[in-house]
C-alpha cells in the first residue's frame, strides 16, 4: 500500500512531504511560542536594580562581643553575631551526627561541605547568617528575646531551635540558617553579596580570613 500524498506515514511507511511540513510548522510554532513567552515569564524574576542591591557593606566594629545586630539585605534580615569564646567553643564541640542538617549551607562553599562551625564562618568571632527560618520564613528570635534551648536562635512560629552556629538542632526547620556570600573588606567591614573568591576576581580588597576551612 502506498501513500500518494497527505496521509500520515503510518505502518512504518515513508513520511510524505506534507508530514514534513506539518512537523516543521508545528516545531517552528512551538519554538516561536516559547521565545515569545519567555520575556513575559522572565519579567517577573528579580530586576536589575533589585540585583544591584544584592551587595551591601556593613561595619561590624560597633557590635560588641556577646551581642548581635540584624541588617536588612535583599529585603530580608541577616543576623550578625559577635560571638563569645564560650559560644564558639560550644559550636565547635558539636558532633556532626548531632545535627539534623549536616550540610554547612554556606554559599561561599560547595554544597555537601560538612556542617562544622568552622565551615560556617570566615572569622570565628563573627557569625553571619540569613535571618529567615528555613521552615516557613519567620524571623527567629535571638539575644534580644529568646535564644532557645541551644543558645542561638528560637523561631516562635513553629518552635525551631538553632545553636550558636545557627544550625538547626530541634524543630520543624529542615536546614541550617544559610550563610550568605560575604567577605571582609577590612578587619571589621563586611561586604555581603560576594564570596571572597568573587570579590578578589572583581578587584576588591579582601582582608585575610583566619577561620575558613575549605
Amino acid at each position: 500500500m502506498t501513500e500518494e500524498n497527505g496521509a500520515p506515514g503510518v505502518d512504518g511507511q515513508e513520511p510524505s512531504r506534507r508530514d514534513f511540513i506539518y512537523i516543521a510548522a508545528g516545531g517552528a510554532a512551538a519554538v516561536g511560542g516559547g521565545l515569545v513567552a519567555w520575556p513575559f515569564i522572565d519579567q517577573m524574576n528579580p530586576a536589575a536594580d533589585t540585583l544591584a542591591l544584592g551587595s551591601i557593606r556593613v561595619d561590624v566594629s560597633p557590635v560588641l562581643q556577646g551581642s548581635e545586630i540584624t541588617v536588612m539585605w535583599r529585603g530580608a534580615p541577616v543576623f550578625i553575631r559577635h560571638r563569645t569564646e564560650e559560644e564558639i567553643a560550644a559550636a565547635r564541640a558539636v558532633e556532626l551526627s548531632a545535627l539534623p542538617d549536616e550540610d554547612a549551607r554556606n554559599d561561599n562553599l560547595p554544597a555537601g561541605t560538612p556542617g562544622f562551625d568552622a565551615n560556617r564562618v570566615l572569622r570565628p568571632e563573627y557569625l553571619i547568617v540569613k535571618g529567615n527560618c528555613t521552615h516557613l520564613g519567620c524571623v527567629p528570635l535571638g539575644l534580644n528575646a529568646n535564644t532557645g534551648d541551644y543558645d542561638g536562635w528560637y523561631c516562635p512560629c513553629h518552635g525551631s531551635h538553632y545553636d550558636t552556629s545557627a544550625r538547626i538542632r530541634r524543630g520543624p526547620a529542615p536546614e541550617n540558617l544559610p550563610v550568605p556570600d560575604y567577605f571582609f573588606e577590612t578587619e571589621t567591614v563586611v561586604k555581603l553579596g560576594l564570596s571572597p573568591e568573587e570579590a578578589s576576581a572583581a578587584g576588591w580588597t579582601v582582608s585575610e580570613n583566619d577561620g575558613a576551612v575549605a
Binding site: A76, N132, H158, P172, P174
Partner: protein
C-alpha cells in the same frame, strides 16, 4: 435542559435584533423559561448568592483600586485612609473585606450541597470540575487580596505561603524568587499581587459563565437526585418560581452580611493586621484567614517524613492534594445514587466529613502543641492528623467502597410523584 426555545419576540425591534444577535433569547431561555426541578430547596439558592457576591467584590474592588496605592511604603496608609477619610470608604472597604468571607461561606455551603446531593455525578462532572476551578481561583484571589493591606498578617501570611513553594524539590527556590521578583516578599511582590488580584475576578467571572453553561446542558440536579423526565410535570419555569426563591435567600443573606459590614466590620480580621508589615519582626502566631484554616491544619498535620518526601514537602502535597482530590471525586464515588437521602450509611459518613472539615478549621486556628479542651497529652496536632486521615479516607476509601456495598433506599418514580403524590 436546553430544549426548544420558547422565546417569541413581540416588537419589530426585538424581531430585528433576534435575527442578528439573539441575546434576549439567550437570557429568556436561561433565566426566564428555563425548566427547573420543582423540588429545589434552599440549599440550591447559594449559586445565586455567589453570583451576587462576585459582583459585590468586583464593584467594591474597582472602587478600592481607585484609592489604594500598591507600594510597600504607602499601601498600609492608603488602606487606613480609605477607612477613615475617603467618602464612604469605611463602608466599601468593609464590604470588600467581609464580602470575601461571605463569599467563602456561600461557596462552602454550595460545595457541601454538591457533596450531599451528588451534584458531581454523571452527567455533571464537568460542571463540578469547573466549580473546583472557580474555588481554586477564589483562593488565589483571596490570598493575594489579603496581602494588599500590607499589615503584619498580610506580609507574614505571604511569606509563609510563598515559602511553601520553596519546599518543591530542585525548582522550589527558583519559582519562589520568580514569584517574589526579589529575594524576599517586598515591593515587587506587592505590586504584582495587586495586578493579579485585579485580574483574577474577571477570570472567575469567565469560568462562572462556563459553569452556568455546563449547568444548563443537563439542568439542575435536585434533592431527590432523579432526573426531570417530563418538564411539564417535574419542572417549573425559572421565573418567577426560582427568581423569587433565590431573591428571598439573597436578601436574607445580605441582611446577615449587613450586620457584619456595619456593626462588626473587623470581627473576622486579625488584630496584627492593623500593624504595618515589618520584615524584621514576625508575629507570635501566624494564622491565615479563617476560610483557609482547614487546609492550614492539613499542612501542619504532616510532621513526619513519608519515604523520600520530607515533612515540609509532605505537608504541602497534602494541602494541595486535599483540593486536587475534588477534581477526581466524580470517578471516586462508585454509587449511581446521587442524593444521600437514599444512602442511609453514606449519609452518616458525610455528616462526619462535615464535622471533620470544621474540626480541621478549629485545629488550624490553634497552636498544634496546645491541648484539645485542656485534655492533657491530646494535642491539636493529633486531632488534626486524625481528621486529615478521615478527610482523605472519605474520598479514597469510604465513597468508593460504600458505593458498592451499600444498599440504597427505594427512590420515587418521579419528582412529581414525590412532591405532589399523584404519580
Amino acid at each position: 435542559m436546553s430544549g426548544h426555545s420558547t422565546y417569541e419576540p413581540k416588537t419589530g425591534f426585538t424581531r430585528w435584533l433576534d435575527s442578528r444577535l439573539p441575546i434576549v433569547r439567550l437570557g429568556w431561555d436561561s433565566f426566564v423559561d428555563f425548566p427547573t426541578p420543582r423540588n429545589l430547596n434552599y440549599w440550591w439558592t447559594f449559586g445565586g448568592i455567589l453570583a451576587v457576591f462576585l459582583m459585590i467584590q468586583i464593584i467594591t474592588g474597582i472602587i478600592l483600586a481607585m484609592h489604594y496605592v500598591p507600594h510597600e511604603a504607602m499601601a498600609f496608609e492608603s488602606v487606613e485612609r480609605i477607612r477613615r477619610d475617603v467618602n464612604f470608604g469605611w463602608m466599601i472597604q468593609s464590604m470588600h473585606a467581609n464580602g470575601a468571607a461571605f463569599f467563602f461561606v456561600a461557596v462552602y455551603l454550595h460545595m457541601f450541597r454538591g457533596l450531599y446531593y451528588g451534584s458531581y455525578k454523571a452527567p455533571r462532572e464537568i460542571l463540578w470540575i469547573l466549580g473546583v476551578v472557580i474555588y481554586l481561583l477564589m483562593m488565589a484571589t483571596a490570598f493575594m487580596g489579603y496581602v494588599l493591606p500590607w499589615g503584619q498578617m498580610s506580609y507574614w501570611g505571604a511569606m509563609v505561603i510563598t515559602n511553601l513553594i520553596g519546599a518543591l524539590p530542585f525548582v522550589g527556590d527558583a519559582i519562589r524568587e520568580w514569584l517574589w521578583g526579589g529575594f524576599s516578599v517586598g515591593q515587587t511582590t506587592l505590586n504584582r499581587f495587586f495586578s493579579l488580584h485585579y485580574l483574577l475576578p474577571f477570570i472567575i467571572a469567565g469560568v462562572v459563565g462556563l459553569h452556568i453553561w455546563a449547568l444548563h446542558v443537563p439542568g439542575n440536579g435536585n434533592p431527590l437526585g432523579i432526573e426531570v423526565k417530563d418538564t411539564k410535570k417535574d419542572a417549573l419555569p425559572f421565573h418567577p418560581y426560582y427568581t423569587v426563591k433565590d431573591g428571598f435567600a439573597i436578601i436574607v443573606y445580605l441582611m446577615i452580611f449587613a450586620i457584619f459590614v456595619f456593626f462588626m466590620p473587623n470581627v473576622l480580621g486579625h488584630a496584627d493586621n492593623f500593624i504595618e508589615a515589618n520584615p524584621l519582626s514576625t508575629p507570635a502566631h501566624i494564622v491565615p484567614e479563617w476560610y483557609f484554616l482547614p487546609f492550614y491544619a492539613i499542612l501542619r498535620a504532616i510532621t513526619f517524613d513519608i519515604g523520600p518526601i520530607d515533612a515540609k514537602l509532605g505537608g504541602v502535597l497534602a494541602m494541595f492534594g486535599a483540593i486536587a482530590i475534588l477534581f477526581v471525586l466524580p470517578w471516586l464515588d462508585t454509587s449511581k445514587v446521587r442524593s444521600m437521602r437514599f444512602r442511609p450509611l453514606t449519609r452518616w459518613f458525610f455528616i462526619f466529613f462535615v464535622l471533620a472539615a470544621l474540626g480541621l478549621g478549629w485545629c488550624g486556628a490553634k497552636n498544634p502543641d496546645d491541648y484539645v479542651l485542656g485534655m492533657e497529652g491530646f494535642k491539636f496536632l493529633y486531632l488534626a492528623q486524625f481528621l486529615t486521615l478521615y478527610y482523605f479516607a472519605y474520598f479514597i476509601v469510604i465513597l468508593p467502597v460504600l458505593g458498592i456495598v451499600e444498599k440504597p433506599k427505594e427512590r420515587p418514580a418521579s419528582i412529581e410523584a414525590a412532591v405532589l403524590g399523584n404519580a
